[in-house]
């Protein structure tokens, strides 16, 4: 049984309320930070912890904080990225719904570190019922002196607001999120300048994922060094994994980074194995954007070492034989699943969600969807497979934001590992022509 730092009290009755959350030690990181630490000390602890962004990119959070333009006289902002939209990912929703105060606490402690006086939680619009849960938690935090003017009698003041999005995956990209928060279309900005220099309203801004901000709470409570002892190498701490697809026990699991993938999939503590006593065919380990791997390569690396749930182990072998931890959206496909059709659902998703700003992504995602639609409906030709891969290659690296890459990687990996299935899909068309 691994340590639980975020979900420890998840089953405690009433944990959604300030009263119960506080009884369980809630808001102690705020007390510790505001009363005994300077803002830079908080950042230092986050740096020491080795915490990496939990939204998908895995960038060191403390380092991101340290980029904030301290010379600027403009206001600073912390914006929480709760625009969880990556297919296969639902951990933030679970955390916000079940234990909202851990996010509010993390927001206060992190805002203090950054010197932000106003902070926003940008939540995907479809999670509207969680808006009310978060607003209630914020109201309670204000009422108990943890938000507003002179928090806990110190000279630090903070206002925190929830801002709903309206249905756009692209707004999970930090600069698109900021555009959206400014009341515009969610079109990503060119970087540099990075948000730490010119973010919300062109002011220094940090954008962090829900889980990243929640993780600040145990880091400050236990100290960065102690937190960094959990996990393996540069993958420190715990990680929320959203498990779905053809498994017996779908759900959100908090794991210590370093857990063997095999144990995660097959043990009763986690996914409980493949449903209906079937065999595992493939896994998408980190949300729809990461390369898909066949069963043998998700369990062991190409070198034959057991694959671990860490940023490094999942990436072992590069894109040839590895994948990424990404957002921790773990989708399992059994032996009956069609790789072509699964990929089609992804391609349709990216085409639908492309903001349309860059031609390679706007046009290419549409072409990939069309080709895959042809293939899975028995109207495709063998040459479509190479055209598909070629289109993916021409999108990758040629767009302002990573959505283009995210659309391309699943395609390239699916064809690489399951080419035979694509050829069989194309054969249906060839057979039809013969019969005709």
């Amino acid at each position: 049984m691994g340590r639980k730092l975020l979900l420890e009290h998840i089953n405690e009755p009433g944990i959604q309320t300030f009263e119960v959350y506080r009884k369980k030690g809630g808001y102690s990181s705020v007390e510790k930070a505001l009363k005994t630490m300077k803002p830079d000390d908080v950042t230092e602890e986050v740096k020491k912890s080795g915490l990496r962004g939990r939204g998908g990119a895995g960038f060191p959070a403390g380092m991101k904080w340290s980029f904030i333009d301290k010379k600027s006289e403009k206001p600073r902002y912390l914006v929480c990225n709760a625009d969880e939209s990556e297919p296969g990912t639902f951990k933030d929703r679970y955390l916000m719904e079940k234990i909202p105060h851990i996010l509010i606490e993390g927001m206060i402690t992190s805002s203090y570190a950054l010197g932000a006086k106003t902070s926003y939680i940008y939540i995907r619009g479809e999670y509207m019922y969680i808006v009310r849960i978060l607003e209630k938690a914020i109201e309670e935090a204000y009422a108990n002196g943890f938000l507003g003017k002179n928090i806990l009698g110190t000279d630090y003041s903070l206002d925190l607001y929830v801002h709903p999005g309206a249905g756009a995956y692209i707004c999970g990209e930090e600069t698109a999120l900021l555009e959206s928060l400014e009341g515009k279309r969610g079109n990503p900005r060119l970087k540099p300048p990075f948000p730490a220099i010119a973010g919300l309203y062109a002011c220094p801004t940090v954008v962090n994922n829900v889980e990243t901000i929640a993780a600040v709470v145990p880091i400050i409570n236990m100290g960065g060094d102690e937190y960094s002892k959990i996990g393996v190498g540069k993958s420190t701490g715990t990680k929320l994994i959203s498990a779905s697809g053809h498994i017996n026990k779908p759900g959100v699991y908090e794991i210590e980074l370093g857990l063997p993938v095999e144990e995660f999939i097959f043990s009763e503590e986690y996914c409980g194995g493949i449903w209906k006593d079937r065999r595992m065919k493939a896994v998408v380990a980190g949300g729809s954007s990461v390369p898909i791997l066949p069963a043998n390569l998700i369990l062991t690396t190409a070198k034959g070492e057991p694959r671990l749930m860490t940023y490094e182990s999942l990436a072992d072998g590069g894109f040839a034989t590895g994948t990424m931890l990404g957002s921790g959206g773990f989708i399992v496909l059994d032996e009956t699943a069609s790789i072509v059709e699964n990929l089609y659902t992804f391609a349709r998703f990216y085409h639908h969600e492309s903001c349309g700003q860059c031609s390679p992504c706007r046009e290419g995602t549409g072409w990939m969807e069309k080709i895959l639609h042809r293939l899975q409906n028995g109207h495709g030709k063998k040459e479509d497979i190479d055209i598909l891969v070629d289109v993916a290659k021409k999108i990758e690296g040629n767009t302002i934001c990573p959505l283009g890459d995210a659309a391309a990687w699943p395609v390239a990996s699916a064809v690489r590992h399951f080419r035979k299935e694509f050829e069989e899909a194309a054969l249906v068309h060839a057979h039809k022509e013969l019969v005709a």
């Binding site: 990556e86 756009a168 515009k184």
Partner: protein, 175 residues
């Protein structure tokens, strides 16, 4: 002349107050949600013009936003918008069957509204309910671990209620 109710106007003012002086355009998405909820579940040009006036921005600035985000309806929809997720995890657990069942049951295609004006069927991309797939959203409510029987029961329940579903549905307006 279109106008918010007194309660909605107070809420709109409160929302605008969340953003710095001169940055009231930030209220765009929350105000459009509020407007859609107030005015029959969709954003007509008149409604968008009204929202623009609240933020002192040009109408085109509202049009370009309203047409970008998938939750905003720029055409009328049925009282209950049934949004069925069809991305990978939901597809793996049978979302196609759910969509087909609704099509047959309501005698409509995806994107259409039933003859009684009660239901519009829409397929959507991942709603973050992958662990409880397949699912559909109606207003603010997530209906998860769907089966054909659950869908039937839900449709009957909504028919009897005869209410317009809303993403806000007393969640934000009453705060």
């Amino acid at each position: 002349m279109i106008e918010f109710s007194k309660e909605a106007k107070a809420k709109a003012d409160q929302i605008i107050g969340r953003y710095p002086q001169g940055k009231q355009k930030s209220a765009m998405l929350p105000l459009l949600h509020l407007a859609q909820s107030e005015f029959d579940g969709w954003l007509s040009p008149e409604v968008m013009d009204y929202v623009a006036s609240l933020m002192a921005v040009k109408p085109i600035e509202v049009y370009e936003v309203a047409t970008f985000y998938s939750m905003f309806n720029t055409k009328p929809v049925g009282k209950c918008l049934l949004e069925v997720c069809q991305t990978s995890s939901c597809w793996l657990r049978g979302s196609n069957e759910i969509v087909d069942h609704i099509r047959r049951k309501l005698n409509i295609e995806v994107g259409e509204t039933s003859a009684d004006g009660m239901f519009t069927l829409k397929t959507v991309e991942c709603l973050g309910s992958c662990g409880t797939a397949p699912m559909l959203q109606c207003g603010a409510d997530f209906h998860e671990n769907l089966t054909v029987e659950k869908v039937d029961a839900l449709i009957d329940e909504l028919k009897n209620k005869k209410e317009r579903s809303s993403y806000l549905k007393s969640l934000v307006l009453n705060s």
